[in-house]
């Protein structure tokens, strides 16, 4: 089984803000399989959202659209390979 992190552990190890993580889960931008237990995918996705907001200046409205498009892109790539 892949390693899972409590939100607090994820916050410590990856330096993501706890309130952000909670906000992301509430908005269903990340959807942990078990409640409040993040796996590698959830953490990587949360960090991408942090970059989108902090570096790219994306607002809350646009975050789900960008995630949706990226997920489609990645799934396309995995089909082509």
């Amino acid at each position: 089984m892949k390693k899972k992190y409590q939100i607090r552990e994820a916050v410590q190890e990856f330096g993501i803000d706890e309130q952000r993580v909670v906000h992301y889960i509430r908005n269903e931008w990340i959807a942990p399989v078990e409640p409040a237990r993040l796996d590698e995918e959830d953490i990587a996705r949360a960090r991408l959202i942090v970059d989108l907001q902090e570096v790219f200046g994306v607002n809350d409205e646009a975050v789900p659209i960008i995630l949706h498009l990226l997920d489609q892109l990645y799934s396309w790539q995995s089909v082509k390979h």
């Binding site: 190890e13 990856f14 330096g15 993501i16 959807a31 399989v33 590698e40 995918e41 953490i43 990587a44 996705r45 960090r47 991408l48 942090v50 970059d51 902090e54 570096v55 790219f56 200046g57 995630l67 990226l70 997920d71 489609q72 892109l73 990645y74 799934s75 396309w76 790539q77 995995s78 089909v79 082509k80 390979h81």
Partner: protein, 286 residues
């Protein structure tokens, strides 16, 4: 590595200029926007490492005085510390978040690309699941109980069809069976429905309530709408929000159950001066 050169800023650049330069480069080079592009990824790491030095006045001053060589470790730099980029967790069809798209893509393009998924042969059991017509159209999340008593949250992507399978990591597959609807019929991304209208509604026009999978909506029937007239309600068809097909309404003109004397007499009178032959085309072709 000179962080000033990497970010393309002068040694006297303000913090705001540095931030702006970093953001501009990061937008272009971010690995999640350039999945698999190793050159961009390397540049992004360099740019992030450079920014980490210059954004921090203490580190910047140290560098300016030649006190420390910035480390160029392979680990991801920048605001967050280590671990894979998001795209790396999703590639090869290995990610949860991209899986819902796989079903659609598999259906539409699987043959084209002759996809050979190197799926590890895990315990491949096939379960069966009944899906409501509406859930299949709009997508839904449902809890299912496996025969062995285990409960699972299943995400049904919008637009699934009977026979489609959802992969469940570690459990096997679920084959979906979509229940028919007594009123709606699916035709690709559109939903078709037949709506009866009265004689007067057909002739004079009307605004009537029409069911859709999202609930009833008002539909304008233009005057002189014959049986077979097709009207389109945009965005009430199959698919994810924003990408949905339409609902196609086909009208059927229905006479009153009993024809009263009033109607009979008026029509008789009308037909004396207004005869028409709806079978004209038929007769001409035979």
């Amino acid at each position: 590595m000179d962080p000033y050169v990497t970010l393309g800023v002068s040694r006297t650049a303000t913090q705001n200029e540095i931030k702006a330069a970093y953001r501009k480069l990061a937008k272009k080079l971010h690995p999640d926007l350039n999945p698999g592009n190793k050159v961009a990824e390397k540049q992004f790491k360099d740019v992030s490492a450079a920014y980490e030095i210059l954004e921090d006045p203490v580190k910047r001053a140290k560098f300016d005085h030649g006190e420390s060589e910035p480390d160029q470790g392979g680990a991801r730099q920048g605001p967050s510390k280590q671990g894979p980029f998001y795209y790396e967790t999703q590639r090869g069809g290995g990610g949860r978040y991209t899986q819902s798209f796989d079903e659609d893509l598999f259906k539409n393009f699987g043959d084209l690309f002759g996809r050979a998924r190197a799926e590890p042969q895990e315990d491949l059991r096939v379960y069966r699941m009944e899906v409501d017509f509406k859930d299949a159209v709009l997508g839904a999340e449902r809890e299912v109980t496996l025969p062995e008593g285990r409960k699972l949250q299943i995400k049904i992507p919008p637009g699934v069809e009977s026979g489609q399978k959802l992969r469940l990591k570690g459990f096997g597959e679920i084959e979906l069976h979509v229940r028919e609807s007594p009123v709606f019929h699916r035709n690709g991304r559109d939903i078709e429905i037949e709506i009866p209208v009265s004689l007067s509604e057909a002739i004079l026009g009307a605004e009537i309530r029409v069911p859709t999978v999202d609930g009833a909506v008002l539909l304008k029937i233009p005057p002189s709408s014959n049986s077979g007239t097709r009207l389109r309600i945009r965005g009430k068809g199959v698919g994810a929000s924003g990408l949905r097909g339409d609902e196609i309404v086909t009208l059927t003109v229905v006479l009153p159950e009993t024809t009263d004397a009033d109607l009979r007499d008026k029509i008789a009178e009308w037909s004396l001066t207004h005869s028409y032959n709806p079978r004209e085309k038929l007769e001409n072709t035979s």
